[in-house]
């Protein structure tokens, strides 16, 4: 199996599909940033809720 078929046989796994191909222009986000932002956002809203 070649690796360039983009996981075609397994593509039923998710509702959103991701391919290997990526554009040079695309903005890349570190996965840690996503998790950190999520946690930060949650805590922020929680704190706001506590203040009022």
């Amino acid at each position: 199996m070649s690796s360039n078929d983009g996981g075609g046989l397994m593509s039923s796994a998710g509702l959103v599909r991701y391919f290997d191909a990526e554009d040079k222009n695309a903005i890349r986000i570190d996965p840690k940033t996503v998790v950190a932002f999520g946690a930060f956002f949650g805590v922020l809203v929680q704190i706001l809720n506590l203040i009022l």
Binding site: N4, G14, Y18, D20, D23, A26, I29, V45, L52
Partner: protein, 492 residues
């Protein structure tokens, strides 16, 4: 060459999560998955800032498959992702996109970008009416006064929060897809449904849960704390159909588990042999639920969106809503009109008047009409979306034939040519897809009619079992690769 060139600058620049460079060890993958899952559970417990007394859940019983939580940051759940996917499936199924996602990397980038852009659009389209129309997320007057921005300002704040939550879900899914095991969307569905299942089975009295679980209820019955009527009278109905401890619910839940696991193994296997290496043989399985259960969520989401539309209309028109369009009770449930007939059966009480008690107002023919509309919708819709799903995810005969040919395999006894493989696959894949889709639709309606433990619904249960099964397969494969690094080269 129209829309592609026009949209390219936007679509190619959609921010995406970086791909891992090289192999990610299995333990790290598990850690990412667990981390995102913890974050997900945390966020479903953070209530929106500025929310007044909570209104009813707009998703109602669809909540269990759309994930997220009413009144929390994750109010939208995976709704926008699913709705965006419906649009993509329809466009792809009608071949309006003209994207060759199998061979052309440029088109793959465009597809990814379009997918993301649609989700963002859907976050706005579903978020706006939730906050600004219908009062499903009422703003808190206290916060408005405290900040001095008026109710409108608080509504803006609410919208900003659920919008951010919707986008977060999208990126959390991407993190899991690229760095973790399985897909985020699947994981969130499983998480939500499992949570309800556990609650439905084990919820103890007195820990703040609305309902006592199945097993504690039976213990209470056994020690005489929970009175039930005579088994020859009203008691029998209770024992069988009660939402809390009804035996039929247990049977349905187990039945769905068994059927899905069995159906996963029902397949037509097409023998393959390697063109160069003699003796290297393989099989290509065409599974009965080939397109998996995932398209089913699209059908349900379509129904959910129609109901959503109905409630928005009702909130806007109020009593001016014509009766043929929809009549709503105090709980926001449709009890008559068009929106009643297209609302799916969710519990046994929806179609057995005796169970609904005093709330029952529908005539028998009305119930029959509603059941048949739901059944038709799910069976036909299931089949149609399964076909579209197979087409857009490159699982159709043509795409599969190319993959098989590309890996150097052929069907023994046939010429080594993708066209020939396609002809053989065409005998199985379309038929199996349609039958599988219709069957899954039928199962989902049946499970809803009989009821399930914890009220998770047939679709939720089907999705959970099949996603978990896939996850198990993926983990098994992952471990195989960990143990035999050579395998990695073979599977890529």
């Amino acid at each position: 060459m129209g829309w592609k060139e026009t949209a390219e600058p936007v679509l190619t620049r959609m921010p995406s999560v970086a791909r891992p460079e090289g192999h990610v060890p299995f333990k790290r993958k598990l850690a990412w998955t667990a981390g995102v899952l913890v974050l997900y559970f945390f966020l479903t417990n953070v209530y929106l800032y500025g929310l007044g007394t909570a209104g009813g859940d707009i998703f109602g019983r669809f909540r269990s498959i759309l994930a997220g939580g009413q009144g929390t940051i994750l109010q939208l759940g995976i709704g926008p992702i699913v709705t965006a996917s419906i649009v993509l499936q329809l466009l792809g199924g009608a071949d309006l996109l003209g994207l060759d996602t199998q061979n052309n990397p440029r088109d793959q980038v465009l597809y990814q970008g379009l997918q993301k852009l649609l989700v963002v659009v859907m976050c706005i389209l579903t978020g706006l009416p939730m906050v600004f129309a219908g009062g499903f997320l009422p703003p808190s007057p206290a916060v408005a006064q405290g900040l001095g921005i008026g109710l409108m300002g608080v509504k803006m704040l609410l919208f900003a929060q659920i919008f951010a939550g919707g986008i977060l879900i999208l990126y959390m899914d991407e993190v899991i897809s690229k760095w973790g095991v399985g897909s985020g969307v699947g994981l969130f569905i499983v998480a939500g449904v499992s949570q309800r299942l556990i609650g439905g089975f084990f919820a103890l009295p007195g820990i703040g849960s609305e309902q006592v679980g199945f097993f504690p209820s039976w213990i209470l019955i056994a020690i005489g704390e929970q009175p039930i009527g005579s088994l020859f009278g009203a008691g029998l109905q209770q024992v069988l159909m009660s939402p809390q401890f009804g035996l039929i619910r247990l049977v349905t839940t187990i039945f769905i588990f068994v059927v899905v696991v069995y159906a996963e193994s029902v397949r037509v296997e097409i023998p393959l042999s390697n063109a160069r290496v003699k003796g290297a043989r393989g099989r290509f399985p065409v599974k009965l639920i080939y397109a998996s259960v995932l398209p089913m969520i699209l059908v349900r989401a379509l129904q959910a969106n129609l109901q959503f539309l109905g409630r928005i209309l009702q909130a806007q028109l109020g009593n001016g809503m014509p009766a043929w369009l929809g009549v709503y009770d105090a709980n926001g449930q449709a009890t008559g009109g068009f929106f009643y007939y297209i609302s799916p059966i969710q519990t046994p009480a929806d179609w057995i008047p005796q169970l609904a008690g005093s709330a029952a107002s529908a005539e028998l023919w009305q119930i029959a009409l509603r059941v048949s509309v739901d059944l038709t919708f799910m069976v036909v819709g299931g089949a149609i979306f399964a076909v579209f799903w197979v087409e857009t995810t490159d699982m159709g005969p043509e795409a599969t034939a190319q993959q098989i040919h590309g890996s150097g395999m052929q069907i023994p006894g046939f010429r080594q040519n993708p066209g020939v493989i396609e002809k053989v696959l065409e005998r199985y894949i379309p038929q199996v897809t349609v039958i599988g889709g219709a069957l899954v639709g039928l199962l989902a309606v049946m499970a809803n009619m009989l009821g399930t433990i914890g009220g998770v619904g047939g679709t939720g249960l089907l999705l959970t079992v099949s996603i978990t099964y896939k996850l198990y397969e993926e983990i098994a494969e992952e471990q195989l690769m960990e143990m035999h690094p050579m395998m990695r080269q073979m599977f890529g």
